[in-house]
Symmetry: C2
Subunit: 340 residues, 2 copies
Amino acid sequence: MSTDLLNRRLRLASRPHGEPAPTDFVHDEVPVPSPGPGQVLLRTLHLSLDPYVRGRMSAAKSYAAPMELGDVIVGGTVSEVVESTVEDLSPGDVVLGYGGWQEYSVEDAAGLRRLDPAVAPVSTALGVLGMPGFTAYAGLLAIGRPAPGETVAVAAATGPVGSAVAQIAQLRGARAIGIAGGERKVAHLRELGVDAALDHRAPDLPGRLADAAPDGIDVYFENVGGAVWDAVLPQLNEFARVPVCGLAASYNATALPEGPDRSGQLMGAVLTRSLTLRGFIQREFVPTMFEDFLRDMGGWVASGQVRYTEDVTEGLDRAPEAFVGMLRGDNLGKTLVRVA
Amino acid sequence: MSTDLLNRRLRLASRPHGEPAPTDFVHDEVPVPSPGPGQVLLRTLHLSLDPYVRGRMSAAKSYAAPMELGDVIVGGTVSEVVESTVEDLSPGDVVLGYGGWQEYSVEDAAGLRRLDPAVAPVSTALGVLGMPGFTAYAGLLAIGRPAPGETVAVAAATGPVGSAVAQIAQLRGARAIGIAGGERKVAHLRELGVDAALDHRAPDLPGRLADAAPDGIDVYFENVGGAVWDAVLPQLNEFARVPVCGLAASYNATALPEGPDRSGQLMGAVLTRSLTLRGFIQREFVPTMFEDFLRDMGGWVASGQVRYTEDVTEGLDRAPEAFVGMLRGDNLGKTLVRVA
């Protein structure tokens, strides 16, 4: 069964080699199906663009199964209910779901969370009050565990995860060093009030980072990898903690970098400085920490103690270019596409 | 002030380049000094040879300060009290200390632990009931945390740390895979009753390890690095824990290995499988776990639930060759030198 509506979609046409190209995406329009029992028909309002989606476009096994060719590109969405088969959701309700890169989606009601527009703008459920904010909260507090007076460094610090990490660290009494690429982002970091703002594109990041962390670094929230990690590693103190939630610098990499092989040296640093490297995906902490997060972060956002920025692109058709731009680091804050 | 005794010592003559050479050590004989207030004069009975000493022979900063040229080579010792200035230690008492590679030492009484020969052979205070045994106990239980039914892998599994790891893992209800080099060691592992014993010198370690761990590996106790680690990494399950207490395979390395650079790939594995890599030195856990260790391990050794082997070389002069042999992996069990 289908409705009279047409659904414009963006699907995976080919697996990207390196940076995604326009030809890796294909548009189509299909009739919008009717919701089955327990399902709702949703109209997408806001689509979230996230770096992990680049991983799912590849065939390699990762923490989530790869997309298949022809699949609608995946993504979190804030949507409005158009038609519902369940009692507790009605047309006009706004929900958080996982509709992907399309104008309409049919989803199981059980997987949706209803949003209250009175609490905060509904788009924040994709950013500071959603998965990125929770990634920052859980990774920093459960793995990083900064103590008052300790030094926390974070890269991609104007991104939705990094800027939350820096601000939560300061709320916990730690010093926050934010690292980002370019003058505009560094200016934004200063505005946020981080203790030190470093441009990783300017010369001698290692030297400037050492100056900014005279007592060393106790927590490095890793979401980038690459040259920033190379600069941070020598500054890590004994017993430093490194929550690893992303390696955006290498998501488009097509081959291992040239040698020498520094993997043994990395293990040597782990050994001699009693470091903790801990990879994580936020969903691991949902059962134990998500309620605390909504309470704490909701309060901090409402009071202005945690600030956030949204980088909004208008129109689903421009999602691919916004996605590639985000992978390049062009975005400031949470990357969203306004679909409806 | 000195006594009439002569003290034969082995000192650091030069920093080894790669594997230590006989010329890196120099013998001498000096008068034995008298103990000052709060000190005791000790005669060395057993000297412990440990891989970490190779690190202290180098100038590079590690978790312990490097030795200086001319220093007596460091090492744990079990010694007999010859002369005491303190009330609670008398001639004939046997103590655990840190006398190093020499026949006599003068040490602060406060740093010594008196041993009861009725509980266990005193040499075990350097092995299964000492630092190596505690390294296994603390690293496995505080960081590895094997659950019943999980799979624990350990390399250098006939060494004093590895064999304790495998046996404690089994006492906790986990499957233990022991990896060691050569037929003799594998036979010893079978005798110990590990669930699988693998020779890392035989062909296709990765394939045999995958066969031995059909459900993957949940805990890898890392004390070797190198090719064994390369074989283990692909088998690690999501949320696997890797206590890192040594990288013996690279202690004699003089340059980084050739490329490609796999350090980013390692971080990628940490990320996508939510791995924990955690370096540690046993002393971190002494305040919180050492009493439990003496109670638990003392009981297990007394009951025969944990077995141990000692590899004893006679005479201080042969310590350098025994040390080099241990770094090559020639030893079976705890490497000791009987000095007196």
